[in-house]
Symmetry: C2
Subunit: 194 residues, 2 copies
Amino acid sequence: MLADMAWNTARTRQLLLDAAIDEFAEYGPEAARLDRIAATAGVNKERIYQYFGNKEQLFGAVLSWSLERLAEAVPLEGPLAANLPEYAGRVFDYHREHPQFIRLLYWEGLHRGGDPIAAREERAEHYAAKLAALAAAQKEGAVPSEFAPGELLYAVIALAGWWYATPPLAQMIMGDDVENARETLVRVVAKLVS
Amino acid sequence: MLADMAWNTARTRQLLLDAAIDEFAEYGPEAARLDRIAATAGVNKERIYQYFGNKEQLFGAVLSWSLERLAEAVPLEGPLAANLPEYAGRVFDYHREHPQFIRLLYWEGLHRGGDPIAAREERAEHYAAKLAALAAAQKEGAVPSEFAPGELLYAVIALAGWWYATPPLAQMIMGDDVENARETLVRVVAKLVS
DNA sequence: CGCAAATCCAACTCGTCAGTTGGAGTTTAT
DNA sequence: ATAAACTCCAACTGACGAGTTGGATTTGCG
């Protein structure tokens, strides 16, 4: 034990949240086990209920925290919006480095029920900002106006995430070369804004 | 009761399978309830174990049956391959009419564990056939060769399915107009093969 | 100090659900 | 027509996991 030097409730809370992110991303809201989360965090299960309420609320906290992170992870502002293919590539890279977040996004999409949407406001803001940046880039002529900003963003997100959503099928079609998948993604988006 | 005229085990089996498809598509492999499946089918729960073994095997049967259906649902042969945008639209329509199947596909993708892939062989064949059809269309010059067949199919499947995978996010970006989503999909794919 | 408030945790409760069982009804074959 | 084999189902069992509790330990404050 050796003196954990005073209580550190914020740290304990964060340990639980981090463990919960991995657990929920891996197993989904139903198969996630609170005992396992507590064990991973090195904390007693009962702490979860003190800090987060119950399993569903913990999942809600995980979603809010993670999906907001995901939305703000790869910026798309000002000059960056002019290079949409590279943006798509960076989104893909982010998923590769942090596969938890895209998986949580899909879990949320599949798991209809309970809360309507987690962190609706914040996420809506992030996406609205991206859409605005794209619209501005189009106004400047840096990006063609053939597709509306929402249509472009939709395509980029769908294409960048799919590889991690259904790995078996994706690899059945594309092979298992991740680098190649990334390059393809960039080329496809480049075609859309050509 | 009125004479169910002899046993009809095939029918009972099919009732269970149909109910299981809906249940698993809706709730996923973990939250699906065998009691509910049996009740929906109007059959005793014990039948599931006679016909399918256990929950995991039932899920496997549901996946094999459904995903093979999904793969063969929208044909892409011969002359059809020349019109890839319309193919994408038909895939989208299929998902709209039978949302169970795309959801099962995503459940399978997220639920790593247990069996590697359900109905690997059959599905691989279906996709190989689609890829071959695309390659042929390219050889004839009906489809440009800028992207490899696998790259095109990847893009189409990802774009057509995403709307149903994460409805909240998709609608956050695109609005909730399904017809518009379909049109956009067709236009995007058209751009890819232009 | 010393006392109240907050933090921690081992062990418990309790509902739910996958999987089982025993027996009753149904069919087919001889 | 009767026995063997198959189909059905209500009720049971046992495990697992979400949520709780009671008490031990720590901290902060007068």
